[in-house]
Symmetry: C2
């Protein structure tokens, strides 16, 4: 309790004191029928670490999380969702925010018509799985005219051409930064699951912005989170300084 | 340690001493591409509870488990798999067994052509998700001529016509018993996920066999596991007694 109280005191004077930071984390699950779903591989570790780091830096933090097996970070308001549409609604309900970090691995597609009853094998016929596009949460928030967070940060998990894909995504989504992960590397995950970095504790990250590309050293997800939170605090401060100079 | 030693002593004289029991548990995950998969809702709690109960009854237990967030049951040999095909291979490798309990929620279908690279949204085009049938592990083992476990038990998670579906499944698969669950009921799961019983701790179960249908009282998954293990021990004993009478 003493440690918590000390941390709360430090946070009150932290680099993000007085700011509201919105973070999404984890996968989404898109129902096929009552017992089946389409999912993305995402442990939620990176998003949860960012939420925790922002809270330690004094921010008020709202964490919108898909289904994960992680404890709630201390000092963070957690909203649990399952699908992309639920995640979008929770994100919109959490605005306004000074910065928004979209670390969740949102499913691009959902099943067009979710079955109310369990689908049955019917001889040799395989049911067609018609898909429809999910709302694009990152682009939707980044392209808002009213109520856009001052800093909108997306993530890109890529298996090839990581930087090129991230730069294209930055332009396409209209966000300020993309944190790009190379998920083809094994980050030390012991799961034996392909794309092991999704659940791994270490992360090779590139920060892609209009200003260029920074290659960050391979680091733990907690270290990546601290570095990102430092950058967010600097960027918000710089914006406020510029704003004061423009409106003296 | 004293408790463990006492349990081991009791198990050595248990109702399943000298028997090998094979149990499958959890969901399977069927990859769409390196970051996406199709999954079944299954916590693995019931299968893991059965494996634990069989071990406490003195059996040598092999537990073939899909991806779950559960500790390994004490005294059980655990083989971890991801897909239905991996589960089948692990089951076949674990034979011979005296009894096999197929509690896993195996995906009926997998994606016909798993993509080696992450699928991309390409304008408005939605990629067609062609599915193909997975191997039927329960029927495959139940219909073996050589090396069939003496007792083959399947599970049926149903949302409607629970008994009729279970009886049809019993005949179709060629297994000895079906434990049928009504997953349309809320079993007390707090997940907020539809079909909440899949992760719930209590279970409404019907034991369906050629002899008829038994409705078991709603009970915890641990109690269902103990009851099933008692039945397995009785059935194996009865078979051995009949065998001795036929071959005096």
């Amino acid at each position: 309790e003493i440690a918590e109280a000390a941390e709360a005191l430090l946070a009150a004077g932290g680099a993000l004191a007085g700011k509201h930071v919105l973070v999404t984390s984890g996968p989404t699950h898109e129902p096929i029928d009552p017992v089946r779903y389409i999912a993305n591989r995402s442990s939620g570790k990176q998003g949860h670490a960012i939420a925790a780091a922002a809270a330690r830096a004094g921010a008020r933090v709202t964490l919108v999380s898909g289904p994960v097996n992680l404890p709630d970070p201390a000092g963070v308001e957690v909203r649990r969702v399952e699908t992309a549409r639920e995640m979008l609604a929770a994100v919109e309900a959490a605005l306004p925010a000074d910065a928004a970090v979209f670390a969740a691995a949102v499913a691009d597609w959902r099943v067009a018509a979710e079955a109310g009853q369990k689908l049955k094998k019917d001889g040799n016929a395989i049911p067609p799985l018609a898909l429809t596009e999910n709302p694009d949460i990152l682009a939707g928030i980044a392209r808002r005219v009213a109520g856009r967070p001052r800093l909108v940060i997306g993530f890109a998990a890529e298996t090839q051409n990581v930087i090129a894909h991230a730069q294209a995504k930055l332009a396409r989504k209209g966000c300020d930064w993309i944190l790009a992960n190379d998920v083809s590397q094994d980050g030390g995950d012991q799961s034996g699951i392909p794309g092991g970095v999704m659940g791994a504790d270490r992360n090779a990250v590139h920060l892609v912005s209009a200003a260029g590309v920074e290659d960050w050293p391979t680091a733990s997800k907690a270290e990546v989170a601290r570095r990102l939170v430092d950058r967010i605090a600097e960027a918000l401060d710089r914006q406020e300084t510029l704003g004061r100079q423009e409106n003296p």
